[in-house]
Subunit: 303 residues, 2 copies
């Protein structure tokens, strides 16, 4: 929503993390530490009819699938595998609610089978409003601990796990595969400094990672991988702009040392596309056709 | 909602608990086991404008308070103290949303201070629908493990932590104190076989505990404590009926051995009201003016 970044900052100031919470508001998920070596990670996302999907255009099964998949993407971004899902739904009226719910849960069940988590609780309500679904998921680190977005270091390389742009227009936002497998491969092979998923578009999400890390970034616009869902009828500049700003890509953005990225490249375990570097100087910049300029949430300032 | 019990049963069959989930759908919360001795409990409740509160009659602060308090009540029912809350909201439009949200979070903050948990994450969205809020909370057992509703044993006594009825009519459902302190006192002094909170009315919730435990119950209607919020203008029978069926009491229902209840009574740590016994024979019965009859979700069959 409008001003969401400001609002999240306000909430973070208002609700500092108390033990046993290790990392609270502001990352893809929260980290709760139990025993010293054991972390539980919690993520949550609410999806609303007319905002995140449109039930007049989309099946309820895909709506249920998306509600889970965006949370799985958050867990992947934290370097975690899922353990349990808690699903609250508000369904309009009573007449068609049972078949609607049944379809929503069909979409959920497929991902529960594929990624082996338990639907362990929830809340079901009827009301006069549109369909709404909230999913809260728990997970545990695939490696020794959760990976935060705040660990990027000056000199790190920035990379993404796949091409960006065109997700909403193509409907890919309903069917994307959360990057759990890639996250596992990365964690098994290299040490990652920072990771997050690209949900609001690289131009916004890169700022979030750099702000959290106290660093800046310099991106080369020519290196940004453009998804085939971005219409080929657009100009080259428009395509890069779409890749930066469309959002709902649910690929991972990673900050990793050059050594580790080279190691990964040699091992050929997964495809990463290098897009830029982390800088000591704060702020995000982008080079477009040889000229470097500030990167803004809308991409870059067109001259 | 209508048929919610059936629907919960269907979900429970569809989504059996997978490791590390120990107890899934069907209790006040789910139990996730990490290390063998360490359990995390997760509860969730969604609250909707026009269903669980009415923002044309109630402050947003009380709506936020209730959304947290019902989850704290679920944690108390599991014998757990809260650790973290995850809050998703859908707010109508954009114009008044910031002040609405600020008031909602005022109500949340008071309980976070009082019960010392962290607001550790969430999701904020604007839409064309009414105000909706989902809270998911994590907690840890106050004793050695979470207390389920499935542990009642034939011969146990049934008791409640306070008077019932009149909660919705009086507005108490917005201001009630979750029974965390009482739960702690109980756990410190005695061994409890089963516990749950009374949210849909004793007549419904007692069935849930007995079904989960594979037992039955015989309740004495004269023993049911009637809240002063139940109008005194009602007949004695109507008052008992209100206490059984009004719901949203958020007192705790407890199954405990007679020995343990006597020990508690001697220690005078908290007030419990004995209302009946757990029976080997399944089904819930109630004695009304000397005659025993089946207890139904609506209370009892009036002749």
């Amino acid at each position: 929503m409008s001003h969401e970044l400001d609002f999240v900052d306000e909430l973070r100031r208002r609700f500092p993390a108390r033990s046993p919470v290790h990392t609270g508001i502001g990352d893809d998920g929260a980290v709760i530490s139990g025993h010293e070596s054991e972390q539980t990670v919690v993520v949550t996302d609410m999806m609303l009819d007319g905002v995140h999907f449109d039930l007049s255009q989309t099946t309820a099964e895909l709506a249920g699938r998306k509600a889970i998949a965006v949370n799985l993407s958050d867990l992947a971004a934290m370097g975690c595998r899922p353990t349990a899902a808690f699903i609250s739904v508000a369904v309009p009226g009573l007449a068609a609610s049972r078949s609607l719910l049944s379809s929503v849960y069909d979409g959920i069940e497929r991902l529960a089978e594929e990624y082996q988590f338990t639907v362990a609780g929830g809340d079901t309500n009827a009301w006069d409003g549109p369909f709404a679904i909230n999913v809260c998921m728990t997970g545990v680190p695939m490696g020794s601990r959760a990976i935060l977005r705040s660990g990027a270091q000056a000199g790190d390389l920035l990379a993404v796990t796949g091409p960006l742009g065109g997700s909403l227009g193509s409907g890919r936002h309903l069917t994307f595969e959360p990057q759990l497998k890639t996250a596992r491969q990365l964690i098994e092979h290299v040490s990652i400094h920072a990771m997050m998923d690209i949900s609001d578009g690289l131009a916004i999400d890169l700022h979030r990672m750099m702000d959290a890390s106290g660093t800046g970034a310099l991106i080369d616009s020519n290196l940004i991988p453009i998804h085939q869902d971005v219409p080929g009828t657009l100009s080259a500049a428009e395509q890069r702009h779409a890749a930066l700003t469309d959002g709902e890509d649910f690929e991972l953005l990673i900050a990793v040392s050059a050594d580790q990225l080279a190691k990964l490249s040699q091992a050929r375990v997964c495809e990463l596309t290098e897009i830029g570097v982390v800088t000591q100087e704060c702020g995000c910049r982008i080079s477009v056709d040889g000229a470097t300029q500030p990167m803004v949430p809308g991409g870059w300032q067109h001259s």
